[in-house]
Amino acid sequence: MTLKSYIVLAALMPLAFTACNSDHTSKKEKAAAQAASAAQQVYVPPGKLDEYYAILSGGQSGGVFVYGIPSCRFIKEIPIFEPRAGLGYANNPGSESYKRLAASGPMWGDTHHPVLSQTEGRYDGKWLWINDKANDRVAKIDLRTFEVAEIKMVPNIQGAHGLAAYLPSCKYVFVNGELETDAAGDSTDAGKYRSLIAFLDAQTLETKFQVSFIGNADIASSGKDGRFVFVTMYNTENAVTSEGMIERDRDAVGAIDVPLAEKALTEGKFSKINGVPVIESEKVPGVLTFIPVPKNPHGCNVTPDGKYVLASGKLSPTVTIIDAKTLKVVAEPEVGLGPLHTTFDGRGNAYTSLFVDSQIVKWNIDKAVAGKGDHILDRVDVHYNVGHTKAAGADTSHPSGDWLISLNKLSKGMFLPVGPGMPESQELVDISGEKMRVVAAFPSLPEPHDAVMIHRKVLENYFVQTYEVPPTATKFGEEKVVRNGNKVDVFMTCIRSKFVPETVEVHEGDQVTVHLTNVETVRDMTHGIAISKVGINLAVDPGQTAETTFTAGKPGTYWYYCTWFCSALHLEMRGRLLVKAAGEPLNEYIGPMAKQNTVAPTAKGNGYE
């Protein structure tokens, strides 16, 4: 190299650095611009409402979580199969919610698949159903109040897993027994095991009939025309070890002909197990058709137009596309490693979660059926190991095609570290354009399995903002203490900032039932009552009544106080439970304090405002 060339090189060096630097800066700027636009998409200013409710199953937390989309703000937990003292749910023996839950089974559950009711192929905003895999129950949530309306145990099955509503009528919800047993004979001989799919009255949750077969049933989806419902079956081997369950190269999607099953019922082609009519599939040809698919399929999803049912391959990198009428396999496109669930945008595209690849893959259904290999449209990384994925309205005939939730199994450093136990991770993906965009991630308690998204406009007309007070509820000014031997019923009201009565006297060992009615008439004015050292907390929303029963302990003073901060006099909102020794005279509650000191509330307001 000559001196001259050194000089030229030296002169060019800064230029090269600048070029590298500006390239670096433009990359940085691009990332910042992308982040800003994503932030704008999910930003919902204070006071403004989200577009969608995302209702996520709570898995082993036993309830469901409600988030706002697109802000990903956590709004509410609805406890279902597990008591939640803070909300006064099923934690007080003697309360209705406690009695209902205890009567249905254990005080804990494992919720997996939230299902929304539909009318004419659209969400109607009335009901949400959800399964409890651990204790074989199904619950119904009333979307007017976002509270549990019904819980029933499903007889004869174990591992109540896949759940779906029978479309288009929604007269049944059906639930798969994933874990095989001998329901008929209680035998422990695996050779006698069968699985059952249970059809429940969607309103009462009574099990109307079941279809039994050899193998198991995993995830469920309904055809749209009232004929078939579909389930994936990963253990057609009827094996009891994980090695055995993956032995066969092909397992199946099961198609149940519901009208044919109903006909079999009217013709008496069933046997009864624990009082439930059970149709043995072998005895009614056509009631259950096995459609072979690659081994150990998982997700089962009917396309919005009802044309196809898609079985996601799990151990096979494919999704099997089955004609929902002829039950013939029409295509088996490759999508990636570990496909678990598929959801839809209403524009003919499918979105499949890839557990192993940690990706959502977007592909076109018609192109896949045509089989030219050009069906993959886009892939996006999610963090990490996605299970279910669900786009807004994907279970209906009219998905909205704007948002998709990726429900990931591992968060691994996505959020601030909080010790070895890490939160669950969900991601919000914008699917409105050609390319998918992950725009937000949000944590949750363990462990959402599946989600449904419903537009707030659907629910707008159904909401109850304050409870309608039933005629039997204690009215303001009519509070009383009723004694019957050692049973004491306290009919109490609460309103800012007083419990009435403020003093209750009982004897040691009395069985005390408190019926607490919130007589507020404005929304969001929840009160609670905690009774010191008794372990009781109730919560009542305006217009609501809740009960609790307990045995009065040793003599003394037990203060009760309001647990929901309600007013400037919240701390003064308290009263005394006076427990006296047996035989000691009691001061009877002499009458409504309201009548003596205050003005009774009118429909529009009350004396304490």
Binding site: S316, P317, L337, V356, D381, K412
Partner: protein, 222 residues
Amino acid sequence: MSNQSLKRGLPIVMAGVAALLLLASLRLPLWHMRLEAPQYRDEEALKIAVFPNRYGGDMREISVLNQYIGVHVPRALPQFGWLPYLLASGAALGLAASLLNVRYRGGALGIACGVLAVGVIVAAGQAKFQMHNIGHKRDQRTVLAGVHDFTPPFLGTSKIAQFTVSSSFGLGAWLIGAAMTLQIGAAWASRKISTSSAPRPSSTRKSCCKESFETGQFAYQI
């Protein structure tokens, strides 16, 4: 110290350092494999290290993942049984050879190095065969369909299922390489001492080396 004694001492020092490096390599990884996937990123990438006598790294996690891919990873490699002895003997032989009379020293060092070289080549050959088996002798029952048979890269990077797999030599391998180079160097230096102490008539140092090389006397050093 005279120039002559420095020359005589140099091969011993070189063989000594080579022996130390070989002994150090017993405790160091010979070879690394790094597996990256979306959920195994950056510092959470999975790592396998192969030491002369054992595996190291995330073997348990790998075996868990193998339930999916059905990878055939032997519990132990046959090399683990003899590679440590080979390295230790290479060190001892080299050092002993450097202490021999200057006339035999070069040849003996060459033999020590040759033994090492043959051993290392056999070990690497076995490893290549084992790596082929990893991706081909898979458990067909647990196999995640759609993953085709594969051979992990011996050196370099390739894609296996959801993983980007990169392999490289470990510090131990580099130390063994350095030790062998030192032994060759020591042999070379010993030749120089023996030729300078008994110079052949009419041959310069340069032509001597050339001649020796051409006659194949140094072939074992290559």
